[in-house]
Structures are given as structure tokens and as C-alpha cells.
């Protein structure tokens, strides 16, 4: 301590004063805990006190005392994290430790040291009772370490394809490729953040292509003793080397790679240098598969969503810069940053989509059993065929889809498929067939459940729904999805707890933002088709403007964009309609609905933009000012305070920071169908 020129006596006195106070508080709290073992305040207080004591005594070189305090701190850390209970014997051991601390401090105050004190036995007791490990918990020797380290050293770590393209792009821009090696000093503990300091500095001024070990996902700390970084830059070497001027970083070596070496690097594919690849794979045993908390995934997903916004902002910034003459170098940098960001976010989105996606097999796997059991019960002979079970869907969709799908299948078995006798009479094969298929089609997941049974009784449906002749058979059968269509009497308890296809449809439309339709022929079987968006939160939308404000309409709800003129509108009393392919579609003036009636509302003018949106319940032609653009939007939930009329299904932030609301087309159509916006 004197090496740093401190007044030892003064320090010691201050330390002792603090320590006395600390001990007194510690004792009080321990006594409190004896009476009330679960008291969280006391537990936290003891934890804090032992933590402080640990730090302070270490500072003055009282290592035994510090260690003892450290062990106590560990014990209380586990207690407060609920991993440990304060049993009688443990409490006794803690008191022994506390007494020992007291003794040590007395000795120190008498001018002695703590080195002669035997703390081993007390610590041993604590360890036994508290189940503490001896030092650090993780102790598997990473044997593959040397193999990988040498692979990196000799520069033989293969590049991933996007890294390879980074090298090529860098060369195109006239940059040089460097390999930087650094060593983290022995006494640096932990090593990873030390190395991270350098990595962070480098990232700010150069383009880091590859690091070994991986800097973005921390691995075993011991691996970070030696770091190798592959980077590109057009800065002078001194500048790059300056990024390594971090404390406890040693032996920085920066070398420029010549064409020969670069070619070698680029040609390092999976074939050649297999041993390095195998070695690098085995060294990462601990980190290849990780159990991830779904909440964390959601957090990351949110972050990716934000990144998408910033990426867009950056590219807009670049556009703005491009239009000006000056700032060539800044422009270049922005372009580079923009490219990197673009690349990274795309990769991230895909990677994360990957972690969120599960094969739909997890859902389908229970159906063979279900079909077998049910068909046996019903005395029917049914075969199930599943296709596309490897199709990937978002995890969150799986849970919500399970019930509706199960219900559809039960329905098929119960009502759709006939008994063997009836099938024979109808000249059908005795074995009935149900097929479930899933595939990705144009940015959506399409799931179809088909059976070759009776098909739907169109006549019954028409009667029940009160449908007139102008509705075709194909459209009539869709009415099974209308709310309230099925009643308790229709449904046997095999098909589920008295619910029908209308509830299934609601789940799919509202909870999953999907669509469902049915195709059926009398005697020829039934096909139910479900369309789901790939993910729940990124929506391909059309941005429109209305009275200077911007809104978005999900493209999946849009039937067509049209031009509305006086010629193709029909007026009936107070209602306006748009003539769409010979049919009357209610016309909705968005400005009046959202902002209140305006003066211009009355006349239509020459030509107006209309967006025909469609949901099962019906169609509406929404009158807007401009069709601005089509975009993939990250949808965020909307605060109730902003949505008291519930006209919006979410809100999003555009690339330029503008905030726009997403129209809830289903709700809008519902309002129109039930008589209009008055009073809403």
C-alpha cells in the first residue's frame, strides 16, 4: 500500500472505525435473523455489509479477512436468491464466522495481522452447509482449446460467406485487410470485457470482419487470453494500433495481409482445412445449443424490430446526403455503415426467426393418435395423411393454433366422414381419408385440412343463415364461420365443448391475424384452408395519407386499390357505395370517421384514391388522399389512451421517425355492417 504513497495509519484508523460499525450492524441483523429467518431486509443488509467488508479489507491487504467476508457474502447471496434456507446449523456456522471476523478485527486494532488466523475450518463448515463450490463452479477443462487457438493463430479459421463478401467489398472500396493479434494480461480478471474494450474501439473506426474468439457472444473466459481480429480499414496503421491502447492489453501485433494471403483466406472453404473446422466446432461444445427463455427471445425480437427502424433511418440519411455535393467521405462512411447494418439486421432477423420458428410437426404430431382413437370410438375407418410437417412456423402461433386445428379435425371425423356402410353405398373407398398439409406460400403459411366425407349441406346452411339466391354456393358455405352460426344443439360433445366453426374462425382471425375459408361439395368432401402470416409482428402494409396524417393498412386485408369517381359511386339516401365489379361496396370517408366531418366531405372531386379492403364479414372501400408506399412495418401494441374507439390495431414508427397507426379493418367493417359510425 505504501508504494502508492498512502498514509497507512490514517487509513487503518478509518478502516477500523468503519469495520466496528459494520460489525455492530452485522450482529444486530444476524440476531434479527435468528428470530425471523426469512426477513428479506436483514438478509439484504447482511449481504451488503459482508460485501462492503470484503472490498474494504482487500484494499488494505487483509486477505484472510476478505476471504472470510467473501464466503459469508456468497452464503447470503444464495439465501437472498432463494437457493438456500437458513437452517439452525447454518446459522450457527454463520455466527462462528461472524465471531471470527470480530476476533480478526480486534487483532488488527492491536497492531497484529490476520495471517495467523485459521479461517479454513469455519469456511469449510460454511461450504458444507451452504453447498458452496470451491472457487468457481465451471471446471470442465476445454481440451480443444489449443487446437482452436492455433487454428486462429495461423489464420486458418474459415470465413462465413457473409464475412467473405465483406472482405471482397472492402477490397473493392480500396481498403486494406489486417490481422490484429493481442494478448490480455495475466492479471486481468475477467478477460473477456478487457478484450471487449479493444473490440469496441476497433468497431468504431474500422470494419471488423471476424474475431476469434467470438466477441459478440461471450464464451468461456479462459479463451480470451489471446484474441485475433480480422478487419478492414483505410486508416493509417497507427490509428488502428491506437485502438489497442487499453490498459492490461499487451503485445499488439498488426499485420497487413497481402494478396496471396487474402486469396488463401477466401478460398478456405469447408473442404480444405477440415481439422481446424472440427476443432473449432468441438471447442464450442458449451455454446452450440443454448436454452433460451422465450421472454429473452421476445426482447431480442423487439430489439431487432427497432434495428429495422434505425436501418431505415440510416438509409434515408444516406439518401439525403447523396443529394448534396459535399460530404463525400461522410457519405462513404454512412454508406458503409448502412450496408453493414443492413446485412447485420437481415442476418439477425433470419437468425432470430430461426430461433422463434419451430417445425409445425410439433403441432401435427398429436393428430395420428387423435384420429386413431376417435375413429375407433365412432366406429369409422379413417386414415390420416400429413404433409409438410417440416414447415416452420412462429412459436407463438403454435400455442394458439392448437385448439382450432384440433377442433377442425374432430369435426371432420364426427360430421364429415361417413360410416363404412354409407361410404360403400356412395361408391367410396371404405377407408375415409383426412389429409393435413402445411406449406409456405408467398409470405404466408397455408394449412389445409381436407377430408373425403359427406361435405357440407349447403341447403341447411342457406336456410340457417337466411341466405338468398344471389349468393353462390361457394360463398354460402363460408357462412359456417359467421359468429353465432352454430348453436349448442348442433354440436355433439365429441366435437369439443359445444363450440363450432365460428369460434375457430374468430380465434384464427383475431388471435392469429389469419384467414380461414372452406371449400365443399355435397358428397365430395370438405377442405378447410387456413392462411397465417409468417410472424405476428411484422406486417406488410400500405401506407396511406388522409388529411395530412398517415395511416397503414395491412396488405393482406387489401383486395384492390381503385379510383373512385362520381361515375362509379352510388348514393342511396345517406349512404354511399362504390361500384366494385358490379357490386355495391360501402364507401368510407376516412377523414370524416377519424377527424370528424369536414367541409370538403360533400363532393368527391375528379378522382379519389380508394382502398377496397376485405374481411369475411364484408368489404369496404376506404377513401384516402394518397397511396404513399408499401412497407414492412414493425407493429407495436397501441396504448388504450390513443385508441378509445378501437379503430386501430397497432402503431408503428416509420424510417423517418413518423409515427403512424394501423387501421383495424375487421373492426371498421364490423362497424359499417352493423349500421355505421354514428355514436362511435
Amino acid at each position: 500500500m505504501s508504494s502508492a504513497g498512502l498514509d497507512d495509519k490514517k487509513l487503518l484508523r478509518a478502516f477500523l472505525e468503519e469495520a466496528e460499525e459494520l460489525l455492530e450492524k452485522l450482529n444486530d441483523n444476524l440476531l434479527q435473523l435468528e428470530k425471523d429467518a426469512g426477513n428479506p431486509d436483514s438478509i439484504n443488509e447482511v449481504f451488503r455489509l459482508t460485501h462492503s467488508l470484503k472490498s474494504e479489507s482487500a484494499l488494505l491487504g487483509f486477505t484472510r479477512l476478505s476471504e472470510l467476508a467473501h464466503r459469508l457474502e456468497d452464503v447470503f447471496d444464495r439465501i437472498r436468491a432463494d437457493h438456500l434456507n437458513l437452517s439452525r446449523p447454518l446459522m450457527d456456522a454463520i455466527f462462528s464466522a461472524s465471531d471470527l471476523i470480530h476476533e480478526i478485527i480486534s487483532r488488527i486494532s492491536r497492531g497484529q495481522t490476520d495471517t495467523e488466523i485459521d479461517i479454513r475450518s469455519v469456511i469449510g463448515e460454511l461450504q458444507q452447509l451452504a453447498g458452496l463450490g470451491l472457487g468457481s463452479e465451471a471446471a470442465e477443462p476445454v481440451e480443444a482449446l489449443p487446437a482452436v487457438a492455433s487454428a486462429a493463430e495461423s489464420g486458418e479459421l474459415p470465413l462465413k460467406s457473409f464475412q467473405r463478401s465483406q472482405v471482397i467489398e472492402a477490397l473493392d472500396r480500396g481498403e486494406k485487410i489486417y490481422r490484429l493479434r493481442i494478448k490480455v494480461a495475466e492479471e486481468a480478471e475477467p478477460k473477456y470485457p478487457r478484450a471487449y474494450l479493444v473490440f469496441n474501439n476497433l468497431e468504431m473506426i474500422t470494419n471488423v470482419i471476424q474475431t476469434f474468439p467470438n466477441m459478440t457472444a461471450a464464451q468461456d473466459d479462459r479463451l480470451y487470453e489471446r484474441i485475433v481480429v480480422l478487419l478492414s480499414s483505410d486508416l493509417p496503421e497507427e490509428k488502428i494500433a491506437a485502438a489497442c491502447a487499453v490498459d492490461l492489453i499487451e503485445e499488439p501485433e498488426l499485420e497487413v495481409l497481402d494478396k496471396g494471403r487474402i486469396d488463401e483466406l477466401l478460398s478456405l472453404r469447408e473442404q480444405g482445412k477440415r481439422s481446424a473446422l472440427r476443432a473449432s466446432r468441438s471447442a464450442r461444445i458449451e455454446s452450440t445449443s443454448v436454452r433460451v427463455d422465450t421472454n429473452k427471445l421476445n426482447e431480442i425480437w423487439q430489439l431487432v424490430g427497432e434495428l429495422t427502424i434505425y436501418k431505415a433511418q440510416l438509409s434515408q440519411l444516406h439518401d439525403r446526403l447523396s443529394r448534396r455535393r459535399e460530404n463525400e467521405s461522410i457519405k462513404g462512411e454512412v454508406e458503409r455503415a448502412s450496408d453493414s447494418l443492413e446485412r447485420i439486421t437481415t442476418e439477425m432477423q433470419q437468425a432470430i426467426m430461426g430461433t422463434r420458428m419451430v417445425p409445425i410437426a410439433v403441432l401435427f404430431n398429436k393428430f395420428p393418435r387423435l384420429v386413431r382413437d376417435l375413429s375407433r370410438k365412432l366406429g369409422k375407418n379413417v386414415e390420416l395423411e400429413i404433409q409438410g410437417k417440416d414447415t416452420e412456423i412462429d412459436r407463438t402461433i403454435v400455442e394458439v393454433l392448437s385448439d382450432p386445428l384440433t377442433h377442425i379435425i374432430r369435426n371432420s371425423l364426427d360430421h364429415g366422414l361417413e360410416e363404412p356402410e354409407e361410404r360403400r353405398k356412395a361408391n367410396k373407398p371404405e377407408v375415409g381419408r383426412i389429409s393435413i398439409t402445411a406449406q409456405q406460400q408467398g409470405g404466408k403459411i397455408v394449412i389445409e385440412v381436407a377430408d373425403d366425407g359427406r361435405g357440407l349441406d349447403v341447403g341447411k346452411i342457406r336456410k340457417k343463415a337466411g341466405i338468398g339466391a344471389e349468393i353462390t354456393d361457394e360463398e354460402a358455405v363460408q357462412y359456417i364461420f359467421s359468429p353465432g352460426f352454430s348453436t349448442k344443439e348442433d354440436v355433439t360433445d365429441l366435437s369439443g365443448r359445444g363450440v363450432g366453426m365460428d369460434v375457430v374462425a374468430t380465434r384464427i382471425r383475431e388471435d392469429l391475424k389469419g384467414e380461414v375459408e372452406v371449400r365443399s361439395e355435397s358428397g365430395g368432401g370438405t377442405l378447410i384452408r387456413i392462411l397465417l402470416p409468417l410472424t405476428l409482428t411484422i406486417l406488410h402494409s400500405l401506407v396511406i395519407s388522409c388529411s395530412g396524417y398517415f395511416y397503414a393498412i395491412p396488405v393482406q386485408d387489401i383486395r384492390e386499390t381503385v379510383k373512385v369517381t362520381e361515375q362509379n359511386t352510388i348514393i342511396e339516401g345517406e349512404n354511399e357505395f362504390y361500384d366494385y365489379e358490379g357490386r355495391k361496396v360501402p364507401l368510407l370517408r376516412l377523414d370524416s370517421v377519424l377527424l370528424g366531418p369536414t367541409e370538403e366531405s360533400s363532393s368527391l372531386g375528379l378522382e379519389n384514391n380508394g382502398v377496397v379492403v376485405e374481411q369475411r364479414r364484408g368489404r369496404v372501400c376506404i377513401l384516402v388522399d394518397e397511396l404513399v408506399e408499401e412497407e414492412d412495418l414493425v407493429i407495436k401494441p397501441i396504448s388504450d389512451l390513443l385508441n378509445h374507439r378501437r379503430l386501430f390495431s397497432g402503431v408503428t414508427v416509420l424510417g423517418d421517425g413518423r409515427i403512424i397507426f394501423i387501421l383495424d379493418t375487421a373492426r371498421i367493417i364490423e362497424i359499417i355492417e352493423s349500421g355505421g359510425f354514428d355514436g362511435i
Binding site: 502508492a4 498512502l6 487509513l11 472490498s55 480478471e189 471487449y196
Partner: protein, 121 residues
């Protein structure tokens, strides 16, 4: 001219030791804070050349204070003090822009070399 340092740590003793170490080498301690809130306020009031900030402080914890200091002054120089095993916090802090970090318990020499390196760039 002496460099101005702001010390932020909830332990009086810690601050005293740091003060001793730094003042003996010619640094000027212009202020001390014992909570994150105080650290932020004093930073804005005193505008020191560098801040030594403990991230284990309770009540507007050190990390929050660090972020707010950076928000108010992107060029702020901050060295954080952390406990062992707070790796992700340290990385978070590095991403926010700290110059260096020291792990407690630390030796005075470490504090000095870190602060010297951070101030002479």
C-alpha cells in the same frame, strides 16, 4: 494543470481511499457522490475531466447514472468499478462508451494506470 475527478461510490471508505491515491498523484477531486442520482447531478454541475463510478450502487444504480451522464455529455470520460461476475453489465457499459473498468477489490496501482491511460489519449 491538475485533472478534475468526480468519485461516485456509496462506500465512504472506498471514496476516501480513491481520493488518497489520486490526490497523492496530483489529481484534483472536485466532488464526491454516494448515489447515482447525486453522481449525475454533480457531473452536470462540476463537469469533471473524468468520473470514477461504482456500478454496484443502489438507488438509481451506477449503470443508469452512467447512461444518463453519457446522454447529457457524449464525450464524458467514465471508468466504472464493478464487482466480479458482472460481465454483462461491464460489456453493456463498454458499449455505452466507458474508457475502462476496474474490478473490485482493486489495487491502487490499477486505478492509477487506468485513469492515466484514459486521460491521455
Amino acid at each position: 494543470m491538475a485533472f478534475k475527478v468526480l468519485l461516485a461510490d456509496d462506500l465512504y471508505f472506498m471514496r476516501m481511499v480513491q481520493k488518497e491515491v489520486l490526490e497523492s498523484k496530483g489529481f484534483q477531486i472536485v466532488g464526491e457522490a454516494s448515489t447515482g442520482t447525486e453522481a449525475l447531478a454533480k457531473y452536470q454541475e462540476l463537469r469533471p475531466d473524468i468520473v470514477i463510478l461504482d456500478i454496484t450502487m443502489p438507488e438509481m444504480n451506477g449503470l443508469e447514472a452512467m447512461k444518463r451522464i453519457f446522454a447529457s455529455d457524449p464525450d464524458a470520460k467514465i471508468i466504472i468499478c464493478s464487482a466480479i461476475g458482472q460481465q454483462s453489465l461491464i460489456v453493456d457499459a463498454i458499449n455505452s462508451g466507458i474508457k475502462d473498468f476496474i474490478v473490485k477489490p482493486f489495487k491502487p496501482e490499477r486505478l492509477l494506470s487506468a485513469i492515466n491511460k484514459a486521460l491521455t489519449e
